[in-house]
């Protein structure tokens, strides 16, 4: 069996690969080295971020390139924007995507717009890695899924991987990209293992992946919801219904073609997105298919999302809040007018 590593280790490898190749790549953020650098406590035990994703980097690359910053998101994201504009290739880690409020200007008004405002004479090769997603019992201010916000901003590329292999290949692409990329890491995926190639490889940003082929309906799912969709698809298969699961992998740019082609084949579409349901990736994809693929459809487009309320702190409520295979099955039963799929 091929090598299996975790989502977190895949991200760690991607950073290492690019840092070895290009010494202009630096990593900065809160606790990314994660060791006090004290005399009695060397860097060997540096913990590498609150989730340990960047563990081992400071030992290999030193504190010149792995920079623990003060708790000052606007400060260090702003510094990363101009370090990118002046020749570095920084990776800034925003510990939780929920903290974007503290530095949105630097992302939205600066990083996203400098190339445009400079008439193409500047480049911002900056990656903002950030953690998102519910299911970690982290409550309303540490559990949101905010990629829809960034998708709405021109000049930002938005990447949401669902597997360790995708995470590594997409992150290497993001770091080597000459534009600003916001890279979303679902915190509940960090320990999920998968087959990941060794060494340097890239996956193009803007290319969707069909995670499961099928002819009867299309499920477009984002991030960890790809796994929820795959679980639902397995149950549907037992009923002889073959779902095609499409993982966009990046939301900006969005691979519209792969989505439309799949819907053309299956004539039915369910979109699974754990973000709140207004103005999110699901509504965006729904609008896309309604606009450009209306004639392909035999049934209304359906969405499985969180309700339009904050992520609950109560574990029981949080479980209720998120999309599940059962919720997908309930929606599919309406689409194909067969109630029996609900009770598989």
């Amino acid at each position: 069996m091929a090598r299996q590593i975790s989502f977190a280790d895949a991200i760690n490898e991607a950073i290492k690969e690019t840092m070895r190749n290009d010494e202009n790549v630096i990593l900065l953020g809160e606790d990314v080295a994660g060791g006090a650098d004290l005399d009695h406590l060397g860097d060997e035990d540096a913990w590498g971020g609150v989730m340990g994703v960047t563990k081992g980097l400071v030992q290999e690359f030193g504190r010149d390139r792995i920079l623990d910053t003060p708790i000052a998101e606007a400060g260090y994201v702003g510094a990363a924007v101009s370090a990118a504009a002046t020749g570095m290739r920084p990776i800034a880690e925003l510990m939780f995507n929920d903290f974007i409020g503290s530095c949105l200007d630097e992302v939205m008004n600066q990083g996203a717009k400098l190339r445009y405002m400079f008439g193409g004479h500047a480049k911002i090769p900056l990656v903002i890695r950030t953690m998102h997603g519910a299911g970690f019992r982290a409550a309303a201010q540490h559990s949101q899924t905010l990629y829809g916000m960034f998708t709405a901003i021109p000049g930002v590329k938005v990447v949401v991987p669902s597997t360790p292999a995708d995470a590594k290949g997409l992150l290497i692409s993001a770091i080597e990209d000459d534009d600003m990329v916001v890279f979303f890491e679902d915190k509940t995926l960090y320990n999920v293992k998968g087959e990941v190639p060794e060494g340097h490889y890239t996956i193009p940003i803007g290319k969707a992946d069909i995670k499961r082929a099928g002819d009867d309906l299309t499920i477009v799912a984002i991030g960890k919801q790809v796994n929820t969709a795959l679980a639902a698809a397995e149950q549907l298969a037992q009923k002889g219904i073959e779902a095609e699961v499409v993982d966009p992998r990046s939301l900006s740019p969005l691979d519209e073609n792969t989505i439309l082609k799949s819907v053309q084949k299956t004539s039915r579409l369910v979109i699974v997105d754990e973000a709140n349901p207004r103005c999110n990736a699901a509504t965006d994809i729904s609008a896309l298919v309604a606009d450009k693929g209306f004639d392909y459809l035999d049934a209304p487009i359906k969405m499985v999302t969180a309700p339009h309320s904050p992520v609950p702190f109560s574990p029981a409520l949080e479980d209720l809040y998120l999309p599940t295979p059962e919720k997908i099955l309930a929606v599919v039963s309406e689409l194909i007018d067969d109630e029996s799929v609900v009770t598989i």
Binding site: V81, S82, M117, F118, G119
Partner: protein, 362 residues
Amino acid sequence: MEKQFPITKWVDENGNITGEDYKEMVTEELARTFYQHMIRIRTFDKKGISLQRQGRIGTYAPYEGQEASQVGSALALETEDWLFPSYRDHGAAMTFGHSLKNILLFWNGRNEGCIPPEGKNIFPPGIPIATQLPHAVGAAFAEKRKGTKNTAIVYFGDGATSEGDFHEGLNLASVFEAPVVFFNQNNRYAISVPMEKQMKTKTIAQKALAYDIPGVRIDGNDVFAVYFETLKAMDRARAGEGPTLIEAVTWRYGAHTTADDPTKYRDQMESERKRNETDPVLRVERLLKNNGWFDEAWAERMQKQAAEEVDAAVAEMESFPPADPADIFDHVFAEPTWQLQQQKQEYFQAKKGVPVWNQQQQ
């Protein structure tokens, strides 16, 4: 604190050198250079206001009264240093070598205006207040990492010191020992809000104490104090001794921008009094006269040259080709996404020039 951070002045309002130590350094050559640059940027500024009033450019932010701060600091830079201006610092940018035509294009809403001449490291003006401070820290940090001796200077007003970005920027620069000079022009008003209502501190320089970096307070209308104190701060940065906060105490005579009326929020008699008593250009003129260095014909020639240069830039700006609709699409990403390419194509193929985006299949 005002005692701890006294205002450094090399040449007083009457054009007299304030200390024996300064006499050797306040030379005729420097005085003439400063005078010429200040006349030049003041001429530009006056033209900027009149162009706005005539509808030939958009909203304009004037700096008249702050010429010494901008000229003195910009002339202290080395060629390869980085300059991060706010919207009121195009006087510094053009002194450092920005193109007058491009600065006018900027105020005319053209992104071409943000582009500095080849080899000049000047960022587009920071419009949201204080965001350019962390940028300067990042650029300075990058230069340090690249192993160069280049530094960054960042301009901002008194109002910006209330923003979190100011404090985050100073702290970050202090912790990273970034070679950056924080150049504050304290013109005492954040649009309409006077300094006393913005902060309880009597000085801005004292804010450096919190970050354990040097804080220097200078007469921002004394171009010599500005020049030499900025030079010192730059030298410190270049020597690896970290950042400096400079507070240049100055005054803007006019409005915040051409969109407001200063008579509504301050006593404009005070501006008139300052124009007569503490004006930065007049001060150098007095210095030149006091030392027998003033030459009426030369001064007139400088005025005429500046007017000609500004007029030529206006003519260039006005004969610049109209904005290209392709600009909407071409500079969003390094390679336009297929969606941008499609939307651009739709624009150029649209009948009667009315594009309806997104109508075609990929």
